[in-house]
Symmetry: D2
Subunit: 305 residues, 4 copies
């Protein structure tokens, strides 16, 4: 073949694969919970791959992490305590800690080995966040930790791998888990959740996550950002008992960004915020209807559609 | 392999391929100008493939064609005469003819065989448009036809394959061609151009098209829509001497849609319009700078980046 | 991609795939027992694919079928009655019927739909064999048919798909089945079995088949032929209570071929015969040792190694 | 995809690719002459890849190197001086030096960087051969070296990459080069040449090499060995003015092997020798006819068929 000869196969779904040319395998191993690889792609830089799925790429990880973190953080007037479930790369923590109001950020990721490998091979991802005095890191099950905690949080961010059968994350996408989350949020607190593809042909996961959140929270919003390394637009949900991020104008968002000194953001601002929540007609229709309730008894697995 | 065993390789760029499972080859041949295939995909329905690149898929062709056609058509207060360069499937013509003000739609596609194959295998694409009395179809070089024409048009739509070396379209992306277009537009006329990927890692083409349009038109706007069959967000440019589609509010767009009886649109409405022109920060920055001038002497070829 | 854009993925084993460019899908369906496809390859002509595995290709099917049939047929001094298990394409039957001494050839293939599709799309494979008066065709389980039969056969040919879990063939590779076969062979009768790859890195299957035959027959010989469509050399076993094909000289084989009027054979002759049974040192060593006993209670499945 | 996610694409020909799962990239670089990679495959061990083509694999390199070296070395009654063109891994040299009669082995490989990388990453390949006192290593053009040499050799071994346009090897496959070789051989000297695939569908290269050798040497023999890492059987030519390896009986070969103390050979012996030169009928026919003359003015390039 003319061109690259080494390719990483990313299975988007049963009928679609994205092949990334790779130039190097920086790390390849297996933790107690999952396989982990650090690959180098000429187009996307370093890739973090867990259980065969790209988690983030050097070139566009800022899009994913800013999109996951800042909508709920900005929607909250003054977030002081933040909880992160997952987030092994440290980049979600990095974005959270940018907000000067944050006094404490608890990150619970079950897989200490992922964190260790990321610290070594992807130092730009956490960018020192793990060493910030406001950060608390625990390597245990995030659901268990949260259930047993007596604290309340202003923002809870769910940054997990997709729910794979027997994988470490599938019990953190259920109604029962979101019910625990609600109990740990302050009254105007928000939760954001990475929720899978928003490709028009691949909406099963995000619809189920949104449907399940709606069974717990009165305010649930779906939003998206295009993340090339993932092969298209990626979806998130933000939910709350009282705070609706869609009510914020671009102007108000830009005002808060400035007030908080977040001028180094690369992806997020008032205009980006508006774009993220603005879906065309067929997507609004598709996202409005249906979606199934995810429960402990009947969890969601990737590709179930 | 578990799962599908037949795959279509779509080369997105040198370092990225999208593989579509296919279940059938409905047609495979070669015209005077290009290779043409009609494939069946379990996920996307029928695929039209020219010179190895997916042109449109049954499941999401409405997104592409509505996104290409309606922004300039709605921005124009009353489009009567429309010119389409390319558009072999007939779906661009179909969308144009939805507008009741249209009195004449000229479509010039060099490849009569593509039209013939599409009429036979993709009848839902044109949906009768080729038989509409307002339609005029010519199989010749669109640039030559336009240059020699004495007519002026309210909207000119460039719906061509990407510029491949020796391919039929590369001389319809140049400054010289857009200069011809300007001469054939009515004073408040608009041109829209399919302009390639708006993936953050693949902006060479769209930046060059935008840059080249800016050398001719004072108003040039880039916009996008997510088209899963193309492997991500797809870009378009709209340009004009006098009319700026971005100035239209969603409310005004919805009013025009209603007034023109376009209630069957699936993708486009006022909200969609706003979303299409709303880019996050890194994309605004990336699209703002640079891009090279495309000329007859130095044409653009796909993947030149 | 420069070059072909449609590929058939043939999984050779867990770590090796062969990709065939395909130009057309002539047929694609599912029978009661398996999936079936007829594909067209520019390099190999029409391909018959069952459950995702290439069974035979137009360009080199003669190699496979001659290699499976003629060693036992020629080793037998005058084969009159022949039994074929499987062989849906009809090409094994075609080769058997070339031998003028044959009075009756019974073919038992469980899947009538495979035969139907092959007759329609691959008429050159059977070349009229199904209509030969000496042929008897039954669509039932070959093991059951043989167990209940009161006839004895001079040659029994096992031309089955590889043993896939839940597939139609895995109980026709066991010790218990070969024991039935022994009971249905005439005293100097022979059995030949298609036995999977003889690639040096992929010998699990053929070693198990040979080991299992050796538990029943005193004479068991492994041989091979290179079949490009299968991605390398392919293995067969021939077994008997009394007749050893290796004892035949090339000269004697060529004499029998001439006496039987088999001058149209393309692959097989005395020299080919010698080559098929002649393995280099590492292969002799690898094939000599081990291999596990296949039983009804512990059947063999493809790729188990 | 279930299973491996990183694959090396080996283009066998325009319509056939072999995909090897890889677990690691041990080295990836570019020399003055070609790209070079050392990959790790779970099935084949370390792979040496030059210009995107697998040159040898840890698991079966002994087959390739023994097949290339021992037929001419054993056919010669007492080889004292040996010349190797190419052979960067050092494994051809290793096999040559096993013969105790060898007093001097000259190896000329243009690419010093390939040798350096192989010495570091594939130490088992040369197994100390580079440090043997009988070895002379030159990094220059083998044709030029040979043309200017005043020595004569008993055996000349051509162990080059396949002829790729602009590649380092294509002028070492021509009539003019073989004419130089003839002038440097002792009267009963032999030359062996790695000659490309002997897959029935891919005989263009080997037929051209054989045809070209026949224009110079009265005795030319084609032989093959199955090399799984190359995706099937691989061909070689051996040629001479006076010595015909086919005339040696297996018994005589085994006697010479014993006399020379070559009992550690894994692939080659008298039986292997017979098998290598024994082709079935269709292959004998295909190899007998045609093949074009390769000349400096009209060199052979890979895949020209």
């Amino acid at each position: 073949m003319d061109g690259p000869d080494k390719w990483f196969f990313d299975k988007i779904n049963r009928n679609l694969m994205q092949l990334h040319a790779i130039s190097d395998v920086l790390y390849s191993g297996r933790t107690k919970f999952q396989s982990i690889e650090i690959l180098r792609s000429p187009a996307f830089g370093k890739l973090l791959v867990l259980d065969g799925k790209i988690q983030s790429a050097e070139v566009d990880e800022f899009v994913y992490h800013e999109a996951l973190v800042h909508p709920p953080m900005i929607a909250h007037p003054e977030p002081e305590k933040v909880f992160i479930a997952g987030g092994g790369e440290g980049a979600t923590l990095r974005e959270v800690l940018r907000h000067p109001s944050v006094k404490k950020a608890v990150m619970v990721d079950i897989d200490a080995d992922v964190i260790k490998v990321c610290r070594e091979f992807l130092p730009d991802y956490h960018a020192g966040a793990f060493d910030d005095k406001r950060a608390r890191l625990y390597n245990t099950d995030a659901r268990k930790w949260l259930a047993e905690s007596k604290e309340k949080f202003d923002v809870i961010i769910i940054d997990l791998t997709e729910p794979v059968e027997e994988g470490p994350a599938y019990l953190l996408y259920t109604k029962e888990f979101y019910d625990i989350v609600r109990g740990k949020l302050t009254p105007d607190g928000l939760i954001s959740v990475q929720s899978g593809s928003t490709s028009y042909v691949e909406l099963v996961n995000i619809k189920a996550v949104a449907r399940t959140l709606r069974s717990i929270f009165p305010i649930v919003r779906v939003y998206q950002a295009d993340i090339p390394a993932f092969g298209g637009p990626w979806g998130f949900c933000v939910a709350s008992m009282a705070t609706d991020p869609v009510k914020l104008t671009p102007r108000e968002i830009d005002r808060r960004i400035k007030a908080r000194g977040l001028d180094k953001l690369r992806f997020y601002d008032g205009t980006a915020h508006r774009g993220m929540f603005t879906f065309p007609r067929h997507m609004r229709r598709a996202l409005a209807g249906g979606g199934r309730l995810i429960t402990d008894a009947r969890p969601l697995y990737l590709y179930e559609g």
